[in-house]
């Protein structure tokens, strides 16, 4: 009833190809943006900002990156953790070596560096695919984490192997990293940064590049026959995906935790991001956000639910139960809706268009 595009006529090609063709979507997004920028920092306390909103945005970024590679280009990767570590350590080296460099530039440069590493480890994708490729990306995962852990040049010879983000301002007087940064400042900075990059990603997948990725994903031989170069498509997917993942790693180290060691980017991290992509929906930008929200919120809920219900459980048991419920939920989701939360949202939209009439 309220969500119906009847009467919205497209009179030009550009209107027809707009990124959000339906007026309600535009309004909803605007409203969501306003709430996220103004209401959330004002209403949520620091605890919520630090434990839910900031990690959600960082993970959404990583999921977005992996979704570009796995969801859009069909190349399964288990090296996400390694690439995040790349972003974190590159940006640390850059930020400490060139203190006058603006922090956003540092992040983008770290992302570019990670993109280079991603292309390097994406090279095997030209010969192999599927699970073989997944194992090949595991090499990236283990090698990169080992490298950052072993050579303390990366940590500026810190004896503990932990890097701490130096304090940096985004505009004078407005710290986003280091101890002086307030959670609200971090949140707003992240929100804008991630939103801009997500918008770029959304446009990228609608462009020629994104279409060539999807063609490769759907049938690589057919794609090659219609003139898409697999080499270019696959490596560009690896580059762009690693760029996003690298930036998310940098954000993780600088904005979310503030100090991090290479072991924070173990294989678990790769799986975590892969779950976000699968649960959110392969091949959907919105899905990356939904998946990230789900995976960030689930452990918090599972941790607090027994206490809230008044069932006393040992901490150890809770962590095991968390594993179990996590695994069971993943299986449940895959059985009920293999296309993820994004598909559920689409179905919901279809229902909303008709509501309250049956058809």
């Amino acid at each position: 009833m309220f969500y119906r595009e009847a009467g919205q006529f497209k009179t030009s090609y550009s209107a027809d190809q707009a990124i959000f063709p339906i007026r309600q979507d535009r309004l909803g997004l605007l409203l969501l943006g306003l709430v996220a920028v103004f209401a959330v920092p004002a209403l949520a306390n620091n605890y919520f900002l630090e434990t839910i909103f900031v990690p959600f945005l960082v993970f959404a970024m990583a999921a977005l990156g992996l979704n570009l590679l796995t969801g859009y280009c069909g190349q399964l990767s288990l090296g996400t953790g390694g690439f995040m570590a790349c972003g974190a350590f590159f940006s640390f080296k850059l930020a400490t070596a060139f203190p006058e460099l603006h922090i956003v530039v540092v992040f983008l440069l770290a992302g570019l560096g990670t993109a280079g590493v991603g292309v390097l480890f994406g090279l095997p994708s030209l010969r192999i695919k599927g699970f073989y490729l997944a194992v090949a990306t595991l090499a990236a995962q283990f090698f990169l984490v080992w490298m950052f852990n072993k050579f303390n040049w990366w940590t500026n010879y810190s004896p503990s192997g932990v890097i701490s983000a130096p304090p940096r301002e985004i505009i004078p007087g407005f710290f986003v990293t280091g101890n002086e940064a307030s959670p609200a400042a971090k949140y707003v900075f992240l929100l804008i940064f991630v939103a801009v990059l997500a918008l770029i990603a959304k446009n990228l997948v609608r462009s020629r590049t994104g279409r060539s990725w999807m063609a490769i994903r759907d049938m690589d031989i057919a794609a090659e026959i219609i003139g898409i170069r697999p080499l270019w498509a696959k490596l560009s997917a690896f580059a762009v995906s690693s760029f996003y993942i690298g930036i998310s790693g940098a954000l993780w180290a600088f904005v979310y935790t503030g100090s991090v060691e290479a072991l924070a980017f173990q294989i678990d991290r790769s799986f975590q991001v892969l779950f976000m992509v699968i649960i959110g929906g392969l091949g959907s930008i919105l899905g990356s956000f939904l998946g990230a929200a789900f995976i960030v919120l689930l452990p918090i809920l599972l941790n607090n639910a027994p206490a809230a219900l008044g069932i006393p459980l040992k901490v150890e048991l809770i962590s095991h139960l968390e594993f179990m419920i996590f695994g069971a939920l993943i299986i449940f989701f895959l059985i009920v809706e293999p296309h993820g939360l994004a598909r559920l949202w689409q179905i919901g939209k279809e229902k909303l268009r008709l509501w309250p009439f049956p058809y």
Binding site: Y132, F323, I330, I331, L334, I335
Partner: protein, 338 residues
Amino acid sequence: MNATATRFGIWMALVPLLIAILGLGLQGLAIIDTSLFFTWGYFLEVLIAGLLQGVLYSLVALGFVLIFKASGIFNFAQGSMVLFAALTMVGFIEMGLHWTLAFILAAGVMVVLAIVIEKVVLRPMVNQPHIILFMATIGIFYFLDGFGQTLWGSDVKVLDIGIPKDPMFVLPNVFEGGILINSFDLVAALVGAVLVAVLAVFFQYTRVGRALRAVADDHQAALSVGIPLKTIWAIVWSVAGIVALVAGIMWGSKAGVQFSLALIALKALPVLILGGFTSIPGAIVGGLIIGAGEQVAEVFLGPLVGGALQDWFAYMLALGFLLFRPQGLFGEKIIERI
């Protein structure tokens, strides 16, 4: 089958040559860089220790291959099945049962588990893309990890079924001090060999084994001649579960039953790449190469880069290998030009 056998023979004949070349190379390196240490006796000792370690990798990889062959599912949960089986076994032993009885009961549990997995997870997901099934097995991985530890606790447990663990020295008159071999590793190798032999007989000569091979070859054709696909899947998962149990006992009595057992599954992945996803001999040979390769690299090359080469050496070896022979040593050659 015959071509595979020939290729197998050729590779076997090349092995001593490869070992000699590797040894000579390392010796040369040790002459150039005096910080490295090399003697032939020590080299062989490390190599043998690596090979025996490799047998244990092969045992895990074997479970992967069985399931991949029969159902095309890349079963990431194999590692947690190993952990779960070992935990169950220890749990039964702690109840005061003799280990043979505990083994039979644990095998029964693994069969039940296989049937449950088939019914609850696999059956509703028939016709889904492979990546979705792969994700489902990651879900099983998490579930089993949590379930096993909820049931049996998460302490490091000792699993002792009376395998001797004495070190032995062989060929003391050829090499100075002889070559140190752990008798436990020899037993593990023996068990691995017996297991492979039993599996080979099972696949080759029984009715169920023939059905399994038919399913592995072509699902549609197998269905159309009346082979019940779902039963076969349950059987394959059961067999993989029992292989996991054997692997779990071996790993568990070597290193203690603990959470890290689930992660050795990851080490089995490069083994699969090397050997080919669909080949049982490949899993064995791949395991041996990976085991020996990473031990030798760790001991003789580790000092050059500060150690812990073991973490990634196997993957890098597999990655390099993939570029030249994507289908693995014995895998089926799929002709695809992309």
